[in-house]
Amino acid sequence: MRQITFSQATLEAMAEEMRKDENIFVMGEDIARQGGIFGQFKGLPAEFGFDKVMDTPISETAIIGACIGAALAGMRPVADMHYADFMGVAMDELFNQMAKIRYMFGGQTTVPMVVRAPDGMSSCAAAQHSQSIESWFMNIPGVIVVTPSNAADAKGLLKSALRDDNPVIYFENKILYKEKGEVPEGEYLVPIGKANVAREGTDITIISYSIAMKKAFETADILEKQGIHAEVIDLRTLVPYDKEAILQSVKKTHRLAIIHEAVKQGGVGSEIAAFVAENALEYLDAPIMRFGAPFTPVPFSPPLEKAYRLDSEKIAKEIQAKF
């Protein structure tokens, strides 16, 4: 199959869906003239015009708020957040309006919109341009949260998101944009809410998503050499997360590790670990292990940033120590 980048995969998903549904449009800062700061919108205005691909003022509350209003009035807006770090600016719109409108109005309406949020560490972008804040949204009923880890999922999940009648937050990792992968042409949907058993194994379940899937695979490779066969699960969707897939795997492997780039404390790993400790504790042969960032903001300087990152050697070593 042809290989395209994660970024191209998102472009393909957008273009295909926009051709089919004239209600879709996208707005954000520097996405039209420039094509998005990571090139993820490049060429879109050429096909769809500046009316469907709109450069906005630096006004995140208006970007999200107006997308909600447009969704209520029949459109399917897509908002680009520039950096996930800026979601805090529009947090009220995201959690008090977007997430709650359908419920608090008793199901009278839907809010079909997609919030695209480039996240994660890139290269020394420091504390305010490197964050992964997906776990907050696990605690906010009313939104769907997806976190593609590769080009194919980037396309399939974005297409599903664009067709979903619920508000969807689409966290796209900045480093992944440039990663190539096999991506099916045309109609290719990855269902929301289903995890992907990315590698089968018998000895431990490693759960991850987004960029950290790389670390999950690396860790599995290292463990494999030591005779430990890890099953690697890509959550793909965080809200709702695939409880069945997790339980099934843990009941098979009797061990669990969760890996994500976000801060470990209060991260997605906490919810997954808690869920398993609640529902499959008796199957566990070893402590659950969480791997995530230290409890500090992301530091700037290269050696600090490097030390802040997940290290699969270290992860594998810690896992192995529990065998």
Binding site: S59, G69, N96, Y103, G106, T109
Partner: protein
């Protein structure tokens, strides 16, 4: 004045009295402990929603505030379902999930009250963006209070609407108070509409207690906006007659002060005096409308009181599609 059709005059009076009587009823039942939560009354401000909504159709949108009953009724929402929602009944617009602060009727373009002050600016702006994209001949209206004009959302919405020339009208209900705070102690400008200058936006100030002035002002806004020249800022000066919410001890002002003001600003009194003096309507006509309203209120109350509460299991419904 002769240019007003009898029908329109009747509508003005009907809507204003309907809102007034609705609010008085809500107040009573709230104080009796039969309405849960908070309620913020629109009493004394009826001319604004009435004067604005008189020119709107169901295809036009309004975004409302925490003080949203008046907007909802003026926009044409079914009174029974409004009342039932406020009582927390399953037959209400939101099946009891929303209540007073989250009353909405999407079928008539009423996009919802909002518990977050200043939460509606951007929603109305986005609805106007949709209208423009859909090439429809409609408009979107954001009702908002003086206090909310100090939220950042005000600024971001107005700038965006102006830049994109959206068909949205921002209607400021300057009732002089933001909760316990006189607006001028926290708002850096006397006429909030002056802020329109910063967005190259057209604006106008009207007496918000005079339904005719509101109606005319809004019609001007509507014509302007429909030409495609961009948004409009309409400031309606009024006064908050009741406490911020029902039950507010109102330590910050005297009853006398308020009554004194109300005797000059009551929009229904103003209207009645005018139409009678100018012989545009007769007392009988007014009374007929009043009776009709009384019946509707009673019916709505019966409907609400006789409706069932939602079943606890309904908690889990209506979250995701």
């Amino acid at each position: 004045m002769e240019s007003y059709s009898k029908e329109l005059l009747k509508t003005f009076y009907y809507k204003m009295v309907k809102i007034r009587r609705f609010e008085e009823t809500v107040e009573r039942y709230f104080l009796d402990g039969e309405i849960p939560g908070f309620v913020h009354l629109y009493i004394g401000e009826e001319a604004i929603a009435t004067g604005v909504c008189a020119s709107l159709t169901d295809k036009d949108y309004i975004a409302s505030t925490h003080r949203g009953h008046g907007h909802t009724i003026a926009k044409g929402a079914d009174l029974n379902k409004v009342m039932a929602e406020i009582f927390g009944k399953r037959t209400g617009f939101c099946k009891g999930k929303g209540g007073s602060m989250h009353i909405a009727d999407f079928s008539v373009g009423m996009l919802g009250a909002n518990g977050v002050v200043g939460g509606g600016f951007n929603l109305a702006t986005g609805a106007a963006l949709a209208i423009k994209k859909q090439k429809r001949d409609n408009v979107s209206v954001a009702f908002f209070g003086d206090g909310s004009s100090n939220r950042g959302t005000f600024h971001e919405a107005l700038n965006m609407a102006s830049v994109w020339k959206l068909p949205v009208i921002y209607v400021c209900e300057n009732n002089q108070w933001a909760s316990t705070t006189p607006y001028r102690t926290t708002t850096s400008v006397e006429d909030i509409s002056l802020r329109a200058v910063g967005y190259s936006m057209a604006s106008k100030i009207v007496d918000g207690n005079d339904v005719f002035e509101v109606y005319e002002g809004f019609k001007e806004a509507l014509e302007y906006v429909k030409k495609g020249d961009g948004p409009f800022f309409l400031e309606a000066k009024t006064y908050r007659i009741k406490g911020h919410f029902v039950g507010d001890p109102e330590m910050y002002r005297t009853k006398e002060e308020v009554q004194e003001i109300f005797s000059n600003t009551d929009p229904i009194k103003k209207f009645t005096e005018k139409v009678l003096a100018e012989k545009l309507m007769t007392q009988t006509e007014l009374d007929e409308i009043k009776d009709k309203v009384e019946k509707e209120i009673k019916e709505a109350l019966d409907f609400a009181l006789n409706s069932e509460y939602p079943d606890p299991s309904e908690i889990y419904e209506d979250l995701y599609v």
